[in-house]
Subunit: 677 residues, 2 copies
């Protein structure tokens, strides 16, 4: 196992540092000084890429192209493409009323301006803050979502306001009740939303989680003994360039400003046959709608990936802290606003974990037994969206299951309240004077399917009782039930919701290939139980802007560049004109039967805050499974070495079983306790 | 940390080996030679126990009493109690038409009798098995469920028939199509169920998972490097007798023949205040209904815990195989049929695991950050129910969450089919000639609640949109949503089902105590997404026998001895007379408002087999959470030492942060790769 550096970028690799520089230089040469918003890989057209994958000698290698978005003086936004091989700009298009992603640098600017704005200072005084304390005023700049008073031609942010009595205090304990609106072109505050009922600055004592505060409250617990995880013989995966091989799996690890981790060309070596499963997997978008109807809280519904970027917001990960064991890291490179390059060191971590028992069976007759431990591989990133952190892990299992997993942690978005104020059920007082509003976290998993080839069909699968009544000859004892499969033939039919009552799942099937035993189409099944519906109502602002959240599942026919289900440029869309999925699906008549399909799955949680979540939230996990069903002709992990195996014949002959890959280091917890088995 | 042996049994300890012997000797003295079916702890009456817990000096220590079930000659079944302190039988009651649990020893007997039975041999010949090969015929004896032809006064088992060409072959590849019925009193086969359409013995090649078979197919994979987990300073938990203390948690670990692990007196030390949460937690019952309506498959609906016992079927666990790291084990003792004692060594394992990130937050302004890793404690057992194994883990988290987790592995129950036969959707051909029927695994979690005291109230909690339409003043932008709480006031109202569309949860609340900040009742929330309804129809045999499976949640008022929701003696109940929960709930009028309540939660999976599951199933996990909500006045894990923490003021002063409990052993996977952060 090891890591081999590739001699040239793989067609799906993120742009290298020098490629980003080439793109920037090329743009600057023609268009002068502009603000660089995006410089990212323009992904190869699928037809080109699959032709090259099928026969790298005959087909041309897909070109390296940079997808560029810039903001020119006067707030003019351009979409461009730079051919990195010929070093030429092949597309340059002025956008009309579209706002590209808001970068970290743009977010950073707002706080300084807010602190100096006279009208903001005036509001701070009303809140009870002295003008000389303006350095204690902070703001989390958010995308404005959409505000019909300002439309989309002016580039805006809304500033959610906080106060810190001391610099190390958690500002979310001291929310302010007004909301300045920032114009990025002018670099100034153009309006302030002020509520009718004012809530003065909270006088509650701070509640902090930093070490000095914990020490003051009595210090850290001392009863936690270390757990060490080591791989003395190294890891079990191998990386060539960014292509990873592990336990029959092979795939490419991409990363971009928006989706963060992108996995491509996911294949499984099934006894020597390399079988494609997914062409591309990513978290393509998310939305976090807040449920308080009072103005202007409706604007809190960040589409974090399209509006800020899961790549742009990626944390630099740290050994032994974010990740434990034997870890491989990958860095990420992004343009700076002025045309430099910034590197996020260790943006992705890759490691293995013991996965508990993979399979076990004992025969009750003679206690002959096999027990085999499983292993998993985890590709992980963490991103910080202002107050929240999202830990995104792509977990690969040996049995062919892929398990995307997200943990939510970080800090609640909070708003001011008078301690005796009624929250009207739209939020919870999590600390005196702190109202944490109801919200949802909804993520859109984009599944570009390739189950034994590009032509796939999606079925909805429900567990239902037989129609025949109890006592009838067909169902005398009433126990009959079956798996009702419904083919989703068109994009319209495919707009489907989760049904807990039928344990609904969705199968991505290749109807051209049947399992030799079950005679059912080979398939991957989407098993996802945390799929709340969008709680903002149909035709609400959120519903319009986040079309992917309208249903748990949408399916479209694959088309190049249909990557982002809330549209390419998300900030300040009104949704009045259909965007993203809503635009692509249109009247819903397009056939998705036995063709190259993309399944968009929206899952997540509804979060009614409680005091346990404050001032920092214990991580809350959510997960789903992509499981092979009727895909393999038998259990694909029987060749994983067992920890212990004994057979009836061995026991009959008085022989012991075979001790396999049992680690030599597991120990009894207490030396005085009972013995080992 | 360490393990301290108690000088005398705690009132909730399982009977010790010598206590079992005393009970047996006492019974034998009075009643002569009988078959011992159950000798287990008769649990202290709750009133006595809580009085003693409240004031051990003033209140009498609850007595040690054995709960005894025996089968006397002639098949007479007696329920008895033996006072172990006075060594007297205090209750001895002849049952009428009730069958107690079927022990492993009783199951073991059947195969020998089946092989010699002339009518069975005749059927084997019809299947294509030579009479001299009867030693290759195997049977899994199952409870008969209920068969109206035989009723419940005769003690029966049904023998599911299999064949092994060679002794080490997996018999589930070769199911036979007929089903002998065994009379335990007579020790003979009294009937054979023979299908109209016969399926001869499969001639398919074996598909085995034992080492010799894997070697023949090319051998084990060699690309899996070891992962070692060590705790050089020992574990972080302490055990006194069977009382465990870990990270603010304290609870007692019981174990019985039926439920296996039982957790009692679960408390959490909240900054010095010991707060009760649950009086008793266990898996109280389960049912595995199969969905094939053809006779006699309706009889396949094992209530495994009441009919065989999760304790009786417990595996003896093995270091480095079933469990990894630093492990503490507890043994279990049970009576033998003849009146001896058998010990299951290492029936329970206890260990800690790293739990990933517990919480993290970075400030985007200055990259000041805190990241703290979590730890979990796992109390685990595994039991084998004929073909299936169930891995049951009780996971405790530092933040007050308890997470019961079950993994399914082992082997599918299979039935014979002709390779070209239509399964009619009631099953799947997982291998030539092998039909694995649709089935559910439904588990009943018994939650004897004690949230800040015995008087609790259960609320159903649904995430719902505001009623006000989009555009109305109350909900202009349509984003309003809230947590709709419905009090379940009576046992009838409390019969409720899971609703995926509203992300339904249930809160076990103490309405007498409000959270100081949210002003909501302190509560523990049941978050369980895998709660399929019972697919056998209302008034079906399974529905009648397994009343707990009719709804995801039932709530009853606590009463001593109401432990088992399908009744005390489960085999051969017809369900025509209400049993267990159905009997206790009756007309549903009993108030459960602000009183001592028990919540019964049924969860699980519906399993449509596929070839991946054969011949042995990769473990399929399911889980749920019991989460504190409005229980704590703030995040209860802020005092867990961070891995790394830096504050704005430190960064401003140019100081680094604090490296906390970072293990010294985490490493980069490849020495040639990029550096550490
Ligand atoms: Co949240
Ligand atoms: Co199953």
């Amino acid at each position: 196992m090891g890591s081999v550096v590739a001699d040239r970028p793989y067609p799906l690799d993120p742009l290298t540092l020098s490629e980003i520089e080439v793109a920037i230089t090329t743009v600057k040469k023609t268009h002068g000084q502009v603000f660089f918003n995006v410089v990212t890989l323009h992904e190869p057209r699928k037809a080109e890429m699959t032709a090259w994958l099928a026969d790298a000698d005959a087909a041309p290698r897909p070109k390296r192209v940079a997808d560029v978005v810039v903001i020119a003086p006067g707030g003019k936004v351009y979409d461009g493409l730079v051919d990195l091989e010929t070093v030429t700009i092949t597309k340059w298009e002025l956008l009309d009323g579209e706002q590209p992603i808001i970068t970290m640098e743009e977010l950073q600017l707002v706080e300084h301006i807010v602190r100096k704005d006279p009208k903001v200072i005036e509001q701070c005084i009303i809140s009870g803050i002295a003008p000389e304390d303006m350095d204690k005023v902070y703001c989390d700049p958010w995308t404005i979502g959409y505000d019909e008073r300002f439309g989309s031609s002016v580039r805006l942010q809304q500033a959610l306001m906080y106060y810190r009595p001391e610099i190390d205090n958690c500002q979310y304990t001291y929310p302010l009740d007004f909301c300045p609106i920032y114009d990025a072109d002018k670099g100034e505050i153009i309006a302030i939303d002020i509520p009718k009922v004012r809530r003065p600055l909270s006088k509650a004592a701070p509640l902090d989680y930093h070490p000095a505060a914990v020490e003051k409250r009595g210090g850290y617990r001392t009863n936690l003994k270390p757990i060490n995880i080591t791989q003395p013989e190294g890891v079990s995966f191998k990386i060539t360039g960014r292509e990873l091989e592990w336990q029959n799996w092979k795939f490419h690890i991409g990363f971009n400003y928006r989706e963060g981790i992108v996995l491509n060309n996911i294949t499984f070596n099934d006894k020597g046959t390399v079988r494609p499963i997914f062409y591309r997997l990513s978290l393509a978008e998310m939305v976090v709608p807040y449920g308080n109807p009072e103005h202007p809280h409706h604007r809190k519904h960040a589409l974090d990936q399209g509006e800020y970027g899961a790549g742009y917001m990626a944390n630099s990960l740290s050994l032994g802290c974010d990740c434990k064991g034997s870890i491989h890291y990958l860095d990420a490179h992004f343009p700076t606003r002025a045309g430099g390059v910034r590197t996020i060191k260790n943006a992705i971590c890759i490691h293995e974990e013991d996965a508990g028992i993979l399979f076990k069976h004992s025969d009750f007759r003679d206690d002959s037994v096999i027990v085999t431990r499983g292993r998993k591989l985890i590709i992980q990133q963490i991103f910080t969206a202002a107050n929240y952190e999202y830990v995104v892990a792509w977990v690969f299992h040996q049995d062919g299951t892929i398990q995307p997993e997200i943990k939510l942690t970080g800090i609640l978005n909070t708003y001011a309240m008078d301690p005796e104020e009624d929250t009207h059920g739209w939020g919870t007082q999590v600390y005196p004077g702190v109202n944490a509003h109801n919200h949802q976290h909804l993520f859109c998993l984009r599944i570009d399917a390739n189950v034994d080839g590009p032509n796939n069909t999606v079925f909805m699968s429900d567990a239902v009782p037989s129609d025949a009544p109890v006592g009838s000859p067909e169902n005398f004892y009433g126990n009959a039930f079956y798996n009702k499969r419904t083919k989703l033939s068109t994009t319209g039919e495919a707009m489907t919701d989760y049904n807990g009552a039928t344990s609904r799942t969705w199968e991505i099937a290749n109807t051209n290939k049947l399992n030799p035993f079950s005679k059912k189409p080979v398939s991957y099944k989407l098993v996802s139980r945390e799929a709340p519906g969008l709680l903002p109502k149909p035709n609400s602002l959120v519903w319009k802007r986040a079309p992917f959240a309208r249903h748990a599942v949408h399916v479209t026919r694959y088309k190049d560049d249909q990557l982002y289900p809330a549209g390419r440029h998300v900030p300040q869309t009104s949704g009045d004109k259909p965007v993203g999925l809503a635009e692509w699906i249109g009247d819903g008549s397009e056939s998705i039967d036995n063709t190259d399909v993309v399944l968009w799955h929206t899952f997540g949680v509804t979060h009614f805050p409680s005091p346990e979540d404050f001032p920092v939230m214990p991580a809350e996990p959510m997960t789903l499974l992509l499981r092979p069903r009727n895909f393999f002709a038998g259990n694909p992990v029987m060749d994983v070495p067992p920890s212990y195996a004994s057979t009836p014949s061995q026991l009959l002959r008085g022989e012991g079983g075979v001790r396999g890959v049992v680690d030599a280091v597991s120990r009894l917890a207490f030396s005085d306790a009972g013995g080992n088995a």
